[in-house]
């Protein structure tokens, strides 16, 4: 009797050793993104390589206030652009606060960012809770009339997925899953307004949205996600291998709103800020620049690579 079972046990053991994902035809989850950043306040910031042919972009959120500070940060972006020609700016929502009359589009967007618009920099909008839905028809936001969409970056193998986090209907989630699954791009970058990780005292992490989105990000190899809503800058420690940023610091500012949590890798809530990002091959370099032009955070992210 004893001799009948060892072959069956051996077969079962072999089957158990085969990864479940292989059996199901699903690629194994990607490894974690790795972040290298200066370890002390006095350490020099990581320099953007500014390579020819790389993808260069800026990240801006919660900016459309028409305040002096919005204009000053916009001027700093234009100044930075002279030495770092970013092709696009991704907007993480709350593009216009309050009224959205034609004169508001001018005062809150077209005038402050005129040098960039004139230079041919393309802005790609996501909608926040302060944004009227008709903004999707506003040509300079390049949304093509859609509330959620994706677009391929002009350089490198990068695709952006832009979500409408205020109204996550099941169709949108289905669309996202399909779009992520169909993308063969090396870098999958998602952005939307409500952060699923944030140390903000006013808003903080949107746990419901996290439950919905995070499993897809993990499964389909998203490396980086940007959000806004909380009015400061925060880089979150990698979560399940994904790096999250909160960049709601473009105009509105919640001074001292970053609570002390284990999430924060770096926080900045004392002035307006935007991000300048460069992707070259498997590396993403980033600088976060404050209104007075100081680099308040920097680092290098290695993309997630399927195991």
């Amino acid at each position: 009797m004893r001799q009948k079972y060892p072959p069956l046990i051996a077969l079962a053991a072999i089957l158990l050793l085969i990864p479940v994902s292989y059996c199901a035809g699903i690629p194994a989850p990607a490894g974690p993104a790795a972040v290298v950043a200066p370890q002390s306040e006095n350490a020099p910031p990581v320099k953007l390589p500014n390579k020819s042919g790389s993808l260069k972009f800026a990240v801006l959120g919660d900016f459309g206030t028409a305040t002096q500070r919005e204009y000053e940060l916009a001027a700093e972006m234009a100044k930075f652009y002279t030495g770092f020609k970013f092709d696009i700016v991704i907007l993480v929502g709350d593009n216009l606060y309050g009224a959205e009359r034609p004169q508001d589009f001018k005062a809150k967007f077209e005038d402050p960012y005129k040098p960039l618009l004139d230079a041919g920099v393309k802005f790609y909008g996501a909608l926040g809770n302060h944004d009227a839905r008709a903004q999707r028809y506003y040509k300079p936001f390049n949304m093509g009339g859609e509330l959620y969409y994706s677009f391929k970056a002009p350089n490198e193998k990068v695709r952006f997925f832009v979500l409408d986090s205020t109204y996550p209907v099941p169709e949108q989630i289905d669309w996202l899953e399909k779009a992520l699954k169909d993308s063969s791009d090396d870098w999958k970058i998602v952005y939307f307004h409500h952060p699923i990780y944030s140390s903000g005292g006013r808003h903080g992490s949107d746990m419901k949205l996290r439950e919905t989105l995070e499993p897809l990000f993990i499964k389909y190899n998203v490396s980086v996600a940007f959000a806004g809503h909380d009015h400061f800058y925060e880089r979150i420690k990698p979560q399940h291998g994904i790096v999250y940023f909160v960049v709601g610091s473009g105009g509105q500012l919640a001074v001292g709103d970053i609570l002390k949590t284990d999430l924060t890798a770096k926080g900045f809530d004392t002035d307006q800020a935007f991000m300048a990002v460069e992707i070259s091959g498997d590396k993403m370099y980033f600088n976060t620049i404050s209104r007075p032009g100081e680099v308040v955070d920097s680092g290098i992210i290695e993309r997630r690579i399927p195991q």
Binding site: R101, D104, F105, N129, A134, Y138, T166, Y167, D206, K208
Partner: protein, 201 residues
Amino acid sequence: MMRGVNRSAMPNQMSRYILRFVVVLGALTGMVAAATPKAPPSEAQTVAAFKERVKEYVALHEKLEATLPKFAERGTPEQVDKNQRALGALIKSARSDAKPGDFFTPGMVALVKRVLGEVLSGPAGKTIKASIMDENPGVPKLVINERYPSSVPLSTMPPEILEPLPELKGELEYRFIGRRLILLDTEADIILDFTGNVLPQ
């Protein structure tokens, strides 16, 4: 003779009695039917009727929108604003008799309250409500066919709330303003209907 007379009179008298009985019975039946309250429509009927009204509205929206330049052709804020206001005015005119409860009938309000009660009493209820009420102070007065108040941020609509509510078509969305649920035409930026305070405190 008497018997003979009686015999011949009997059918006539009987017919009269029967006729009177039928008339009285009919009247009583009618009275009872009128006095009995109508059974409320089932939730399935309520949803079907709501969807039908939404369908009719979307048809109206599309018909009116077809008279304006296409949204996709717009680009400048002036064009977007002009078309949005023009569409809003056409809809307002076509729905000049619109009133609260056109979409959110008592049956729909009951459904919304049931959904909210179930979702918010669940383990994630507190988080879901916090998400809805984030930057959502409400406004003192809502008016049918008026533009969405530009100073009021749009509430987040968690998927747990959207899924059990009847699916909307076209450019319509559910949103909360304070504790009231509204039906919003996002393209015309006008409020089509709203409930009373349906979100529990």
